[in-house]
């Protein structure tokens, strides 16, 4: 597994894709610091951007990379290696290079601007963590979709749809539900609903950091317990880990029975 991981990491880290991804995040993050002139605002804006960019790029890249490495996978499949180590290594190699590009691209401008020594060091770490989780989760989801779908266009389309679903549609449906059932106690329901969407979980982590004063304004014991204690942070982190793990399990399962 480590061999495959190492090679796909090296392969990708040399590609234009990953380098432009790194550069892109460098520009975005440096630009936000430069134009906002204030770190707190930059961190806040970047958090919003990361929610959709990391998930979108993760989902696109997972598909593209899988389809582009199909023949390579065939070559490796004929070697004396276990299937699960091939696919998990391959996925992890891709994910590691995406994640490194993101962390370096976003982190460098903040380091250069001295965020580590400011009050925003913890927000900054949270921001990186969320980016890493979202990249891993969405690249795994799209890798799995591609593994399942021989048709590239269908696979790519489905991946983009899944992203759109989690990024926008899900929240739209949730809002309709919340407004429609206004008269019922909905705090537990809404928190549970949030846990089924990794973008929403990441958003909640951001709310815990940036909007805690507003969140405490809602009267509900469940909410105040969730947002007022470390419970919210711990549950969200745990769920993100689970979300990162489940698609890998699916990849493994599907890889075992697939024909090449």
């Amino acid at each position: 597994m480590w061999k495959i991981l190492k090679y796909s990491f090296i392969d990708l880290f040399r590609s234009k894709w990953i380098l432009s991804y790194l550069f892109f995040f460098f520009i975005v993050s440096e630009g936000l610091i430069y134009f906002n002139g204030n770190l707190s605002k930059s961190v806040a804006s970047l958090m919003n951007i990361i929610l959709f960019l990391c998930s979108l790029i993760g989902i696109m890249f997972g598909t593209i990379y899988y389809y582009n490495s199909k023949e390579f996978i065939q070559l490796i499949l004929a070697q004396p290696l276990k299937r699960s180590s091939i696919f998990i290594g391959h996925y992890l190699g891709m994910n590691l290079s995406l994640v490194s590009a993101f962390v370096i691209g976003t982190g460098l401008p903040f380091l250069l601007n001295g965020v580590i020594f400011s009050d925003f060091a913890d927000s900054f770490v949270l921001l990186l963590l969320i980016g890493v989780f979202l990249t891993s989760i969405f690249s795994a989801i799209s890798y799995y979709i591609s593994l399942k779908s021989e048709n590239r266009i269908a696979g790519f389309g489905l991946s983009i749809f899944i992203w759109l679903f989690f990024a926008v549609i899900y929240d739209g449906l949730l809002m309709v539900a919340l407004l429609y059932f206004e008269d019922y106690p909905l705090d537990k329901f809404s928190l549970i609903a949030i846990m089924f969407n990794p973008i929403d979980i990441s958003r909640i982590l951001i709310l815990l950091k940036l909007d805690i004063s507003a969140m405490m304004g809602y009267s509900g014991a469940v909410f105040s317990k969730f947002f007022g204690t470390y419970l919210g942070m711990s549950i969200s982190m745990l769920m993100l880990m689970l979300w990162s793990l489940v698609p890998i399990i699916f990849i493994n399962k599907s890889a075992k029975s697939k024909d090449f």
Binding site: L51, D171, L174, D211, S213, A214, M215
Partner: protein
């Protein structure tokens, strides 16, 4: 009047060494009660270091009661300690502690009735039910006191400094902690509250009722149950105070209810659930305040009219302004800085070229269905707000800052 009081105090201070009566466990006079009984009008009583278990010390003449360091009075049976019924009294340097909770009586460490020119200075009041309770008084000075209790629930706790029907009062440099209300004013006029630090009180850090023509400035109100409440009062000046970290349902930095002709200037509202909550606020001035990282910087309900919001900074608040429909009209928002403003300044005059609308669609949704706040910062919500900005349907039309500033305002 305050000035005269200060001179009076200086005079008292110089008299300290000439104590007429000394209370100590080693002297003939072992209790304060005894000393007060034998003291003549205008005399000074010095209380030596030691623990005195006493209560119901009634002062009917002009006295200066001064403690040495470590002079501690433990309330006997938890009853009230000093009852002042005369003018020109000084109580200084004492530690008073351990009062009982009472639902019938206003038990307090120092109770002042119908007096003039009383000074309560540099005392430490620990776990007193009411700390200082004054009724029908004039020219009081309450200064440099440390009033700390351990209130757990509102119904079984009382206020740190409680003033009722008073005039010309100075409350300065006190530290009030863990009471029901930190400082309570009811029917108090022409008074000044300055440099106090009020925190962790269950209800309000400062509570004003029916008290006109007062000023409070440079106070800090932190982490109180619901913040500071100013109600049914006119002509109040609230200047340079800090309202910070008042969190929770119905918690705010400052609650204004039925307030007219007041000034709220140069204050800091930081990380409160609501910065200012206004209900029927009329002809008030809000200038040069900083609203930072609050859930809502301003929330106004009922009819609030003819207020001016000028040169305020709104930075990093989740929502800058919320209001229920048409409840806020004939108000002027001008030359404020809004960190959420995304306009431009082509003519480089420092003023944004297009107006800023501080109320967005989502904050309107939230006032109808509060649980929807869970969707805050969702891309769906951003899209919804964006659509509403282009084609406004729900948000109040007139509510906008026509000349938003491009840069954070530096207050003098």
């Amino acid at each position: 009047m305050i000035r005269i009081n200060i001179i009076f105090l200086l005079f008292l201070f110089s008299m300290q060494s000439y104590a007429n009566i000394i209370v100590s466990s080693n002297s003939d006079i072992k209790t304060i009660k005894q000393a007060v009984e034998i003291a003549k009008d205008g005399e000074t009583i010095l209380i030596k270091e030691g623990l005195y278990e006493e209560s119901d010390i009634v002062i009917e003449k002009s006295l200066k009661i001064i403690g040495e360091d470590e002079a501690v009075i433990k309330a006997k049976d938890g009853n009230k300690v000093f009852i002042i019924n005369s003018d020109n009294v000084l109580i200084k340097n004492l530690t008073i502690k351990d009062m009982k909770t009472s639902y019938i009586e206003d038990i307090s460490a120092i109770k002042i009735n119908n007096s003039n020119s009383v000074i309560i200075e540099n005392n430490t009041l620990i776990n007193t039910f009411f700390g200082i309770y004054a009724a029908n008084c004039t020219n009081l000075i309450i200064r440099d006191n440390n009033i700390i209790s351990n209130a757990v629930e509102q119904s079984s706790s009382a206020n740190g400094i409680h003033l009722w029907k008073c005039k010309n009062i100075l409350v300065e440099n006190n530290h009030v902690e863990k009471h029901r209300d930190g400082i309570y004013f009811e029917f108090v006029k022409n008074s000044l509250i300055k440099n106090n630090y009020s925190k962790l009180n269950l209800r309000y850090g400062l509570h004003f009722m029916f008290s006109d023509n007062n000023r409070y400035y440079k106070n800090r109100f932190e982490d109180n149950g619901a913040g500071v409440a100013v109600m049914y009062s006119n002509n109040i000046e609230m200047i340079e105070n800090d309202f910070v970290e008042n969190w929770g349902t119905n918690a705010y930095g400052l609650l204004l209810k039925e307030i007219k002709d007041s000034k709220i200037n140069n204050n800091l509202f930081k990380t409160n659930t609501i910065g200012i909550f206004g209900e029927s606020v009329i002809r008030c001035q809000f200038e040069h305040n900083d609203f930072m990282n609050n859930g809502w910087a301003l929330k106004f309900i009922s009819s609030s009219e003819q207020n001016n919001f000028l040169y305020n900074n709104f930075i990093g608040n989740t929502f800058d302004l919320a209001t229920n429909k048409n409840s806020i009209s004939y108000n002027v928002f001008k030359n404020n800085y809004w960190s959420s403003y995304n306009g431009y300044d082509l003519n480089k005059d420092g003023i944004g070229d297009k107006p800023h609308k501080p109320v967005d669609l989502f904050s309107t949704v939230i006032s109808d269905s509060p649980v929807a706040i869970i969707l805050l910062r969702s891309m769906f919500v951003d899209m919804m707000n964006f659509a509403e900005k282009i084609v406004p349907v729900i948000t109040p039309a007139g509510l906008e800052d026509l000349e938003p500033m491009m840069k954070e305002i530096k207050h003098d």
